[in-house]
Amino acid sequence: MSEKKPKSIFIQGPISGVFVGESIAKHQSKTDIGAHALFLGQVRADVRDGQRVSHIDYSAYEDMALQKVHDIREAAFGQYPLTCMHIYHSLGTVGAGEISLFVFVSSPHRDAAFTALRQIVDQIKSDVPIWGKEVFVDGDATWKVNR
C-alpha cells in the first residue's frame, strides 16, 4: 500500500494556456500514446438578478480532496488502458474567462481517452471537496451550485 501523501493537484489562481501547452509538449517522448483527451473548465460570466459574475474564489478541504483524486485516478487506471493522467484545479481567485480545471488523459487509442476523461471530470465535480464562491462585479457573492 502506498502511504505517501498524494501529489498536489492545486494551482494558486488560474491555469494558464502556456501551462496547458507545455503539458502537451512534455508528452512527445511517450510514443506509445496515440490519443490525448483534454478537458478545460472555464469560469463563466453568468448573470443573475442583473449582476454579472466577475470571478470565482475557490477553496478546498485539501487533504481529503487529494485523497479523493487519488482514488479517482486509481479507479480510472484500473478500468481503462491509460498511459498517463494529469489533473489540476485552481485555488483562490479565477476570473471570468480563465481556466480553473485541467484534466489531461492519454492512451494508445481514442475510445479509452474520451471515456475515461468524461468519467474523471464527472467524479471530480461530484466527489472532490472543492467549493467555488461566485463574486459579482458589484462585490456581492453567492456559493456556486454544480449542475
Binding site: 478541504y61 481529503m64 471537496p129 467549493w131 454544480n146
Partner: protein, 83 residues
C-alpha cells in the same frame, strides 16, 4: 493544528458552513456520533438547520450516522462545487 484533548474533536468547516461558524478550524466538545454532533451544532448555530451538509470523520463521509472517535478530525462539508 491545535492539540485536541480526549474530550474534544478537531472541527473543520468549509464553504457556507464556515461562514456560519465564523471559522474554518476550531476545537469542539466531543460528541459520540455524527447525529449527536449535528444536533449540538444546530443548537449553537440554528442557521445550520436549513443548510445541506455532510459530516466527514477522519476524511470519510458516510451518509448514515457514524461514530466519532475522541480526538478525531471532523469536517462539515456543504455540497461540492469544484470545476
Amino acid at each position: 493544528m491545535n492539540i485536541v484533548s480526549e474530550k474534544e474533536i478537531h472541527l473543520l468547516a468549509f464553504g457556507m458552513i464556515a461562514e456560519v461558524l465564523n471559522s474554518q478550524e476550531r476545537t469542539w466538545p466531543w460528541a459520540m456520533d455524527t447525529d449527536a454532533l449535528r444536533a449540538d451544532l444546530i443548537h449553537i448555530f440554528p442557521e445550520l438547520k436549513d443548510m445541506p451538509f455532510v459530516i466527514a470523520v477522519d476524511m470519510e463521509v458516510n451518509h448514515m450516522n457514524q461514530p466519532i472517535p475522541p480526538g478525531a478530525t471532523v469536517a462539515l462539508l456543504p455540497p461540492y462545487s469544484g470545476g
